[in-house]
């Protein structure tokens, strides 16, 4: 048996394959295709205090080896989540993590406090990197001072493990990683989507109602990998790699570059079974390479030979 588990502080994940927020619904959308409980964890849809309708249609555009989205955090709010979604989520035998979003620091704090009361949610992912909302989101994650402020404020109340999700839309990602580590984050996940646009040349209009959207998919993988590599070398806390991971090979690249775990995003749209296939692929890679602990390959490319 290969050892696949990893820890964020004292929170154990049975394997390093998680699913990315906004791409895996609440897990149940995938029940027909895989056993969600096999995964290391799932990060559910971006959640806000109040219900949100999100942005107007069209909210997506396909782009070469990727897609732009401007969903804008459509969700039914934390009350609905707690009453109607949380009970179902509690049945999964895996770490269920809530991705929290706000327009103000008070929103983030209030949400973190609400989640403190939910026994089956062992961690939150602080999303300060959503490019698709006017207030909040990326506004926090692209400014060092507000990144510090929001992380500090949430840390002060959060009794769960705190994962901070970074935006790639910055010049120096390491600066942001250091800030969230200093303010007490237990782990860092990256990257969220890259800001982009697409134009419909037939209609001679932007493809998205919001003009700008977030780019995801294989198109962003090299950028994501570079940022994960930079951050993993700079911080001591675990790094969770995200961005264009389509298969086990992609996932292993992230692990070798320094990620302790990965999240599968857009790939789940194309093959809903991607996450379990990646899990199986990582396991056989380790076996074939003669490793019996995944720990041995994390950041391998940085090790002196």
């Amino acid at each position: 048996m290969v050892k696949l588990d990893f820890n964020i502080g004292d929170l154990n994940f049975k394997n390093p394959v998680l699913t990315a927020s906004g791409t895996f619904g609440y897990g149940s959308e995938f029940d027909d295709f895989l056993d969600v409980s096999r995964l290391g964890g799932i990060i559910v849809k971006g959640t806000t205090l109040e219900p949100r309708e999100g942005n107007a249609y069209p909210r997506m555009a396909e782009t070469p080896s990727g897609m732009l989205n401007s969903v804008g955090l459509q969700n039914k709010g934390i009350d609905y989540f707690e009453r109607n979604i949380y009970p179902k989520l509690s049945q999964y035998k895996t770490n269920v993590i809530v991705n929290i979003n706000g327009s103000s620091i008070d929103d983030y704090v209030a949400l973190a406090e609400r989640i403190n009361d939910l026994d089956h949610i062992p961690a939150i992912e602080l999303n300060i990197s959503c490019p698709n909302v006017k207030m909040g989101g990326m506004v926090f994650g692209t400014n060092p001072a507000s990144t510090r402020e929001v992380t500090k404020a949430v840390r002060a109340v959060c009794l769960k493990k705190l994962i901070v999700k970074l935006s790639p839309n910055v010049t120096n990602i390491v600066e942001f990683a250091n800030i969230v580590q200093e303010e007490g984050a237990d782990a860092i996940s990256l990257i969220n989507t890259l800001l982009g646009i697409a134009v419909d040349i037939h209609k001679m209009k932007p493809s998205l109602s919001t003009v700008t959207g977030g780019l995801s998919g294989p198109a962003i993988k090299p950028v994501a990998l570079r940022m994960v590599w930079q951050v993993a070398r700079a911080v001591k806390i675990p790094v969770i790699g995200i961005g264009g991971i389509m298969n086990a090979e992609d996932a292993i690249e992230f692990l070798l570059a320094g990620a302790s775990a990965i999240q599968v995003g857009t790939a789940s749209f194309i093959d809903p079974q991607t996450s379990v296939k990646i899990l199986e692929g990582i396991e056989s890679y380790l076996v074939n390479k003669g490793f019996n602990d995944i720990e041995d390959i994390i950041g391998f490319i940085n090790k002196p030979c």
């Binding site: 906004g22 791409t23 895996f24 619904g25 959308e29 995938f30 027909d32 295709f33 849809k45 309708e53 999100g54 249609y57 069209p58 909210r59 997506m60 555009a61 396909e62 782009t63 070469p64 080896s65 990727g66 897609m67 989205n69 969903v71 459509q74 998919g217 294989p218 857009t266 789940s268 749209f269 194309i270 093959d271 809903p272 079974q273």
Partner: protein
């Protein structure tokens, strides 16, 4: 019915004209029960230009042959690639997805209205109505005579009426201009086609207080309710075309 992901074998790819073709897919095991209005997410080839799956309505199902068909119009890269697939090739599909058309009330008269690739789900629907004891009439709109696709199978289901925008066949004009529509013979209209057609038929139905269901073709990221990209504004808030639809009652849509 549980959704499944399967690579299915193409047993026929029949070209109807320059724009349209029908792919017939054979189930691996027994194909599941499918309902008219439901759709399939097809993986084209995973190339950079056709990265996401493409949604297509279930055009026809044959449980005896254990096959189902897709009627596809070539509009871009993905559909172009699909048009070139041959018998024996395989196609990865996720199906059956979405909700379905509802049956009319007892003794009510249904009318099916379709245009372009929007006629795809209407064959399956027509057969379903027929099986349940209804006699649908069918109104199909095309741009011109050479765009008309084979509709023999529809004739077996009910009377077929045609319109072409240039008048080269059938009534000249749009489906909404056909006298049939205003004959007020119908209690239930089912419509699928380009957005302007569906909107016009919806408007007509609402004005004449006729129950009307449309099948929407919103852009889709996933087809399974995970991405929230396919939303449509309804009186109940934003709903997903892929899970709450693709079939909607026009009374619910904010058109």
């Amino acid at each position: 019915m549980a959704k499944r992901i399967e690579s299915l074998q193409i047993i026929e790819n029949k070209h109807l004209n320059n724009d349209f073709f029908i792919i017939e897919l054979k189930g691996n095991g027994q194909i599941p029960e499918m309902k008219p209005g439901q759709f399939v997410q097809v993986k084209v080839d995973g190339s950079p230009g056709t990265f996401l799956r493409r949604p297509f309505s279930i055009h026809d199902v044959n449980y005896d042959r254990n096959t189902y068909k897709l009627l596809v119009q070539i509009v871009g890269k993905g559909t172009e690639t699909l048009s070139k697939l041959k018998k024996g090739d395989s196609l990865n599909t996720i199906y059956p997805l979405g909700n379905s058309f509802s049956l009319p009330g007892k003794g009510q008269r249904p009318l099916l209205v379709g245009g372009g690739c929007g006629i795809a789900p209407l064959l399956f629907l027509g057969k379903y109505l027929k099986k349940n004891g209804y006699d649908p009439d069918i109104l199909l709109g095309f741009r011109s005579r050479d765009r008309i696709i084979e509709y023999n199978e529809y004739i077996e289901l009910g009377e077929v009426f045609l319109t072409t925008e240039d008048g080269s066949r059938g009534e000249k004009g749009l489906v909404t201009e056909h006298p049939l529509l205003s004959s007020s013979r119908y209690d239930m209209i089912y419509c699928c086609g380009p957005d302007p057609m569906m909107k016009a038929v919806a408007k007509f139905s609402i004005e004449h207080k006729i129950n009307c269901e449309v099948s929407l073709e919103n852009l889709m990221g996933c087809g399974i309710g995970a991405c929230l990209c396919c939303i449509v504004e309804t009186v109940k808030g934003n709903l997903c075309t892929c899970t709450d639809g693709p079939v909607f009652n026009t009374n619910d849509l904010k058109w």
